[in-house]
Amino acid sequence: MMMTDAVLLETEGLIATLTINRPDARNAMSVEILEGMHEAVDSLRDSEASVLVITGAGRAFSAGMDLKAVLIELSGDATMGERLLRSLAELTLKIRALDQVTIASVNGAAIGGGCGLTCVCDVTISHADAKLGFPEVDLGLCPAVIAPWVVKKLGGGVARAAMLRGGVMDGREAHAIGLVDWLAEDREGLVSLTRSVAERLASGGPKALSTTKSLLNELDGSLDSALVLKGAALSARVLATPEAQAQLGSFVKR
């Protein structure tokens, strides 16, 4: 099945694969990408698949928010940042609530919101040369929208250090701190590792998987949509400040 071509959704047996497909823009989250992802994720509610793999086309997984779209000086639209962030927040809540067990197969850069997206998934697979991290604070931004997921994935202390230090790390370091669960040697190895992990997960009973996931969601507060939406509003507030806009402006033009 194909949605808009910005997001591809294919199902083979019990395994669905969602591919973010804007390789020229390093799969940055634009309105188009986010709408495509919402549509794809919505369609999975009636799917027989028990596993969902999320990955990116080309060299990046996702470079995070579409910075050009949220730079008011370029877009002329002061509400775009808030709308994109809210859409991302709602998307993460939807993915978390899916019956399917989700795998992020991080083929390349997973930055900021892109890295946050991996933390929403149940399992993250990557390779040694991938780049992951939260450089929001380096750009004067605030990763509040994804922070609840990062804290759930890494624990409060490790998440705190990763988000306050900023920067990015390679796949090996991400594996060492628990951001990545399974690590392939290189990009080629990632494809076969993803297939074998997806098949292994899909060998579990679909009801056993969804019941387990749903209980974990309940126990760890994943269903607290108010927290994630509050995070989105906070990220949007920081994004709109002159300081953040100025930093973004010089970064985008670089």
């Binding site: 609840p148 804290v151 701190i177 995070g231 920081v238 400040t241």
Partner: protein, 243 residues
């Protein structure tokens, strides 16, 4: 006993009672609290120890010399206030561990945002041995570490090295030798201090909100530790140590 220096946007605090491995006295913790509270306008804080080691914990000789338990009570309350102050400090706090961070010294990690340690540093909470409960540290540890790790660390008197502490999530950056700890902590502190302010400060505030340690939880931890102070078990074990 505390050095406090401001370098531009960076506040640098050093535990400086090197001849006693920076063992904590009540007045030293008062100084530490004052230094942290005076760092409100900084953009990053670095906390390190002078001499051969970060901090050996409470000065147990001083505790043993005061059978009334007053010194121990002042240390527990002072420690709780310092950790809390580090956490509510608007600026991120980078803490560097060289040598050892033991007991009360290790408890300071609970207030830090980024912990740098040497691979061979020794960390842990071996205080039940002397009849003291590390409950005072538990609310802050639970907000930052895996609950299972907190449990096993607090009841076990064994120390772990820096490399293992990194695996357990107590430490966030490793350096190979003790000599590199200060420089790396300063480098991280400067790098954080140079980031645009609003985003970074908002991020810390939001993380405090998500991983909240309320005043009452923190008080509960302190009260549990205080409940043993001056008691027979603690007195006997402290006296045996220095008798």
């Amino acid at each position: 006993m505390i050095q406090h220096e401001t370098q531009g946007d960076l506040s640098v605090i050093t535990l400086d009672r090197a001849q006693k491995r920076n063992a904590m006295l009540p007045e030293m913790l008062e100084g530490l609290l004052a230094a942290i509270e005076a760092s409100g306008d900084a953009r990053a804080v670095v906390l390190v120890g002078a001499g051969k080691t970060f901090c050996a914990g409470f000065d147990l000789k001083a505790c043993a010399a005061d059978p009334s338990g007053e010194t121990m009570r002042a240390l527990l309350s002072g420690l709780s206030s310092c950790v809390r102050a580090m956490r509510v400090c608007p600026a991120p706090v980078v803490l560097g561990v060289h040598g050892a961070a033991v007991a009360g010294g290790c408890a300071l990690l609970g207030g830090a945002d980024v912990v740098v340690a040497a691979r061979d540093a020794k960390l842990g909470y071996p205080v039940v041995k002397i009849g003291v409960s590390p409950a005072v540290s538990s609310p802050f540890m639970l907000a930052s570490m895996t609950p299972g790790v907190v449990r096993s660390r607090l009841v076990d008197t064994e120390l772990v090295d820096g490399a293992r502490a990194f695996e357990l999530g107590m430490v966030h950056a490793l350096v190979d030798t003790a000599d590199e700890v200060h420089a790396h902590a300063m480098e991280l502190g400067r790098s954080i201090a140079q980031k645009p302010g609003v985003g970074c400060l908002t991020t810390k505030r939001w993380l405090n909100e998500i991983c909240e340690v309320t005043d009452s939880t923190s008080q509960q931890g302190l009260d549990a530790s205080l409940s043993l102070t001056g008691g027979e078990e603690e007195r006997a074990r402290l006296a045996a140590l220095w008798g």
